[in-house]
């Protein structure tokens, strides 16, 4: 490890980006203001499903201050009424034929101010002919269900895909031979990432040069540029996407949204910059939501061991299949559902359906449906333990994949890189005082108090690709890093990913510091500008450290190799006689004869050996050989109020193993954020719909986010099992806690009631649901 001077891996250095944020000097999308800029607002459909009879814009156009009103018909004239999605479907930019969900974009006003644009929205007269709304995939898949996507040739039903993984026959055999079968039907409800900053863009198409500069809240600016080139037919070199500071993303800012496309088209047509800033309701009712996943799971158990796992799934994808996810995997990476357990046979089958709801499904810190998978297996294992009368911790240990089984090939085809699941679980139990707590729980029950202890021992799969197997819209999931060391030994690192709060400007500088010995303060990290950074697939699915972090380490090592050549020349020694230590090459056995990286960098521009190319710069595109598999155990203690059904979290212990930690402070921050969002999903966050398809949850009165008051305190622990294939042994951590923790909270509440026969509670576990369960179980006060 490097010393504190260089501050490489393992140092909790303070974040570089904070200097601007604490001064209110961040540069978020709404802070971007260009001369002559116009403002765009979107008119959204009040109906979930309706035919558009007419759109009359004349009153809106007459309002002073209005520059243009854009309709679907106008977009269609430019062949822009529809756009491709990141999962190979199409999505309406502005509706022409029908609206297919409440909140869908119907028209846009461009005006001199956002206030006037909003005024004008009320002056657009749209006549709708309402159609029956389908609000569940079960309804949508009925034989006589109205066809939502009648725009698509050959689409005869509302079914989008059928997908399966694993070995059905072997799984059926395991179930035939089982002592016991444990089943669970559960619904992972629709929730929404709701980053505090909504989406938006400023599109600036220069009428003289044709260059389109689009400032945009995007977690994946390079991929978006390519798709824009394909959608709009613009030459790709004429499109520059800039993601400025992003006020939280959580997957909400990966897809392409109609607002981006309409604003860009408006700027192209009007020759002026056009800003679109989404309001919160627009964000909640139209952009990438999460989950809405109906799951059935079964475990086959024989002699206390899980011998088989069978699942069937139905995904509610909304009106357009618009997930950003690996194209070969229609249900994301749900087949990680065998989790931390050595299950010899598994079969996963799922299908997705169109409904009259907003599109999305894989956002919200979830790594492509790993969250749903983790929830299902961790609930199933708990139900099995209760039904078998075995302690849930011991049942987990009995079934864990053992350390000597790695690399471990799962029954659904993943090759797990490394893990020691029992170690993480035992540490969590120790920190919790598990045995003592179980005694307290029994004593409390005697006194009429309901305490519950919930565990979740999750395993994630993150860090996609490799590129042969994993792509988004055909773009292989590699990532890149470009490192330029200047003559004075300072450096710029340019990345294809994009931070939304994860602290890339600090963390990635620390990787370079570790590998190349340049102090982290001397390294500037740049991201988000497609003209000035190498191509990359972006930041989501916990992939920045596994992929771009690896690219950063590799390019640093490549430059160190070149530095060795230059050092040998400067020291008049053979390269083989040099050794590297922290920030310098020295002659073996003569540590005084040394050249620091700063001296070598200067020589790279001033004093080179013959035949060596000048400069100390390079770019590396890293295609991971495998995914990484972070894991851990979360333990939650709750107390349930028998009178009201309210439950309060008393303890949360989280032991994470994300491999080598680059900046422990930042890692812990990521974990605590995820534990909070996991709590939110388990306890309160819900986007639901009435039978007409009206979204209930369109503002923060109805869509509840946890505040500092509800959010519990967290106790963190760690184990470190490096990834064997990652250059610095890191695995990624951004999503572990949202993936792993919801099951721990729910398991805890169920555990409080389990002795009275309660085996399941559905998220969000509201007081009302618990109160009903208390009544039914005869536990109510």
């Amino acid at each position: 490890m490097a010393t504190t001077e260089v501050r490489g891996l393992g140092h909790s250095v303070k974040r570089k980006e904070d200097e601007r944020f604490i001064r209110g000097k961040g540069n978020y999308i709404d802070d971007v203001t260009l001369p002559g800029m116009l403002h765009l607002e979107l008119l959204r459909s009040p109906f979930a499903h309706a035919r558009i009879v007419s759109v009359d814009t004349s009153r809106a156009e007459a309002l002073p201050g209005v520059v243009a009103v854009v309709t679907g018909e106008l977009m269609a004239q430019h062949n822009l009424a529809w756009m491709p999605t990141l999962s190979g479907d199409t999505q309406a930019v502005l509706a022409t034929d029908k609206v297919r969900f409440q909140g869908q974009e119907v028209a846009a006003v461009v005006a001199e101010s956002a206030y006037v644009a909003k005024d004008a929205l009320e002056l657009i007269d749209v006549e709708y002919e309402p159609l029956p709304a389908l609000t569940t995939p079960q309804q949508a898949l009925e034989d006589d269900a109205p066809l939502i996507r009648d725009d698509k040739e050959g689409q005869a039903s509302n079914l989008i895909y059928d997908w399966e993984a694993g070995d059905k026959e072997a799984t059926d055999r395991a179930f035939a031979e089982a002592d016991q079968v444990v089943e669970l039907d559960t619904f992972y409800p629709r929730c929404h990432p709701s980053p505090l900053e909504c989406c938006g863009c400023v599109a600036d198409v220069n009428p003289a040069t044709g260059k389109a500069t689009i400032y945009m809240t995007s977690q994946a600016p390079h991929a978006i540029r390519t798709l824009f080139a394909l959608v709009a037919g613009l030459p790709e070199q004429n499109i520059r996407v800039i993601s400025p500071d992003i006020g939280g993303g959580f997957g909400n800012k990966v897809p392409i949204y109609p607002g981006y496309v309409v604003a860009t088209a408006a700027s192209l047509l009007l020759g002026k910059p056009v800003k679109w800033i989404e309001d919160r309701t627009g964000n909640l009712i139209s952009t990438g939501f999460a989950r809405d996943y109906h799951m059935h799971g079964e475990l086959a158990v024989k002699d206390g061991k899980i011998t088989g796992l069978r699942t069937s799934l139905v995904a509610d994808e909304g009106a357009f299949f618009a997930d950003a996810q690996p194209s070969k995997f229609k249900i994301g990476l749900f087949h990680i559902v065998t989790g931390s357990y050595d299950i010899p046979a598994a079969h996963v089958a799922g299908h997705g359906a169109y409904t009259n709801k907003a599109p999305g499904g894989v956002a919200y810190r979830c790594s492509f449906r790993v969250t749903e998978a983790s929830y299902l297996i961790e609930r199933l294992v708990d139900v099995a333990a209760h039904e078998l009368g075995v302690d849930p911790a011991e049942f987990r240990v009995q079934n864990f994949i053992k350390p000597d089984q790695f690399p471990y090939e799962s029954a659904t085809g993943f090759v797990y890189d490394s893990g020691d699941y029992e170690k993480a679980l035992r540490l969590a139990l120790e920190k919790l005082g598990y045995d003592e707590l179980r005694k307290e729980q029994a004593e409390a029950r005697e006194q009429g108090r309901l305490i519950g202890i919930g565990l979740a021992s999750f395993t994630e799969v993150v860090g996609a690709g490799h590129g042969k197997e994993y792509d988004i819209a055909g773009l292989r999931m590699f990532d890149s890093a470009e490192l330029r060391v200047h003559p004075t030994g300072k450096a710029i690192l340019k990345l294809g990913v994009k931070s939304q709060g994860q602290g890339h400007e600090t963390t990635f500088a620390q990787i370079v510091a570790e590998e190349l010995g340049i102090p982290y303060e001397d390294i500037e990290v740049q991201e988000g500008d497609t003209d000035n950074t190498p191509y990359g697939l972006g930041t989501y699915a916990s992939r920045s450290t596994p992929v771009a972090g690896a690219a950063t380490a590799v390019i640093s090592r490549k430059l160190r190799d070149k530095a060795r050549t230059i050092a040998a020349h400067l020291l008049e020694a053979s390269e083989d006689d040099l050794e590297w230590e922290q920030d310098r090459f020295s002659v073996k056995g003569a540590p005084d004869r040394a050249k620091t990286i700063q001296e070598i960098a200067f020589a790279a521009y001033t004093d080179l050996p013959d035949g060596v190319e000048a400069g100390l710069e390079g770019v590396h595109y890293y295609d991971p050989p495998n995914m990484t598999f972070p894991f851990g155990t979360y333990a939650v203690v709750v107390e349930v109020d028998r009178g009201t059904g309210a439950w309060k979290v008393q303890r949360v212990v989280a032991v994470d193993d994300c491999g080598v930690r680059i900046n422990p402070m930042i890692v812990e921050g990521q974990i605590m954020g995820g534990l909070t969002e996991g709590f939110a999903i388990a306890a309160m966050e819900l986007i639901t719909f009435d039978e007409d398809g009206n979204c209930i949850g369109s503002n923060f009165t109805d869509y509840l986010l946890p505040t500092s008051w509800e959010t519990p305190a967290f106790e963190l622990g760690e184990t470190v099992t490096p990834s064997p294939h990652h250059p610095i042994g890191a695995k990624g951590v951004g999503e572990s806690a949202t993936v792993g923790s919801p099951a721990a909270y729910v398991n805890a509440v169920v555990d409080a009631l389990a002795h009275a026969g309660v085996r399941n509670l559905e998220m969000p576990v509201t007081s009302a649901k618990v109160w009903e369960a208390l009544q039914e179980a005869g536990l109510a006060e």
């Binding site: 961040g26 002073p64 967290f714």
Partner: protein, 172 residues
């Protein structure tokens, strides 16, 4: 469909507003409907105050109005007439950061930074009223400010950190 007659721009009335923001006097003619958050961001160019929810829930737009935290997305600029406002840009004095700014950085009390200005201003108001708050008092005081990134624990630590720094300053 709304059939409201909307006045043309030219006919819209404006009102004079005079405010002191971060110690500096400003005067402007504004539409009566202009929200304070937009007045600060667009009229005065102080973009450190953010807008997150439009409905007074998230607190990203929190500023101090005569020393009291208000959510500037539901205050009209005209309501601030004749009053004093402090925004995040007013925390730093010369080259010296406010203790709350230092504390948020030192305790990793921010990630994306979007809620941070509002969080810091609410914290400043809390510490003025209660220089040594408990965890529970901090959590209650900040419960009108939502953070989606941090899970609040480090924000609570940051407020304690600032409280301790201010106590030391006061004692020296």
């Amino acid at each position: 469909m709304a059939d409201t007659a909307i006045e043309p721009m030219a006919a819209r009335t404006t009102r004079a507003v005079s405010v002191t923001v971060n110690g500096e006097a400003h005067a402007a003619e504004v539409e009566p409907r202009l929200l304070l958050v937009h007045f600060l961001r667009q009229t005065l160019g102080l973009t450190g105050t953010h807008s997150g929810c439009d409905t007074t829930h998230c607190g990203a737009c929190t500023v101090l109005l005569d020393g009291v935290p208000v959510k500037s997305c539901t205050v009209l600029a005209v309501q601030a007439d004749g009053r004093e406002i402090m925004t995040v840009e007013g925390l730093q004095q010369g080259a010296e950061l406010h203790p709350i700014q230092v504390a948020f950085r030192e305790e990793h009390g921010l990630q994306c930074g979007f809620c941070t200005p509002g969080m810091m201003l609410t914290s400043v108001a809390l510490l003025q009223e209660n220089p040594d708050p408990t965890d529970e008092e901090i959590r209650w005081a900040l419960s009108g400010n939502i953070c989606r990134c941090t899970g609040y624990q480090n924000i609570v630590k940051a407020v304690h950190h600032a409280a301790a720094a201010q106590a030391n300053e006061g004692g020296s």
